[in-house]
Subunit: 148 residues, 2 copies
DNA sequence: CTATTGTTGACCTATTTAATCAAGATTATC
DNA sequence: GATAATCTTGATTAAATAGGTCAACAATAG
């Protein structure tokens, strides 16, 4: 039941951009450095986030990315959905036709409950919430800061 | 965020055995057939469940497996834990030393909440609960029954 | 003894993950 | 308009994991 690096890195990248909103465009290079992610791989992930409108990008010198929507309007469940696909632990939860026993299988129902539960958590948290949580953490531990 | 076949097949195998408790020993061959799982692969999975005491096994002719504990005493969270490992979506939730930013990372906390939420669902359901749910389903659809 | 059934170690293959590389497109600045 | 910085994208790849197979073995009822 692990989440992949795509979802993890992508969430962290969005949070990184959100934390630096007031600094204008953020370069992938800087995100890669502060988040300790390979730049090339980050490009892949950011491309997905740009395509879905979470980020906007500007090419050329002094270019970079910025939030495409207000952080309070970005639910983490949406981000994970884009990067990881459905949170259904088994495919028959989303599409009963993929399993011949779907209609009368007690375990399938249970996996559905697990999915609902996870989604509930991630739908209740926005990028703005993450920003605030992170800022609170940085205040209480001022020495540790990934952005310099 | 998918659960692997090990967890899925294992849960279904346990449920299968639980549903046939009154029939004495259940042979892997029969479980494999009714659950449509490769016998060889099922052996692998059952071996784990036997080692952890969820099942007991008897070799030889007319041998098979039986529940090692009362179904009401088997939480599905335990089963998944044995077959899939921790439900933590990222490893730093269980072991902060695996991530240099663990102590001051808002996303890590969020993954922790996801884990708690999933565990909450699976801790609240026992094998006995699954048996009852399944029996209720079979009653309402008497024609469809994997056990003849 | 023999047939049946579970056990185990070794092995294998396909898929997914997690990148990497290189060529290309865009644009600010000089 | 040349240049350099920056994002974009298709091709490729190495490593890990999932999922499964095989064969030799151990136990035991009859």
């Amino acid at each position: 039941m692990k989440i992949s690096t795509k979802g993890r890195y992508g969430t962290r990248a969005l949070l990184d951009v959100a934390l630096r909103q007031n600094e204008g465009l953020v370069q992938l290079k800087d995100i890669a450095e502060s988040q300790q992610i390979s730049l090339h791989y980050l490009e892949r992930i950011v491309a997905l986030l740009v395509k879905k409108g979470f980020l906007t990008s500007t090419r050329g010198p002094a270019g970079g990315v910025a939030l495409g929507r207000h952080p309070a309007d970005i639910k983490i469940s949406e981000v994970i959905s884009v990067l990881e696909g459905s949170m259904a632990p088994v495919s028959c939860v989303d599409d009963p036709s993929t399993c011949s026993r779907a209609g009368f299988c007690a375990t399938c129902d249970l996996w559905g409950e697990v999915k609902e539960s996870m989604e509930g958590v991630l739908e209740a948290v926005t990028l703005q919430d993450l920003v605030e949580r992170q800022q609170k953490k940085l205040e209480s531990q001022p020495r540790i800061n990934t952005h310099e």
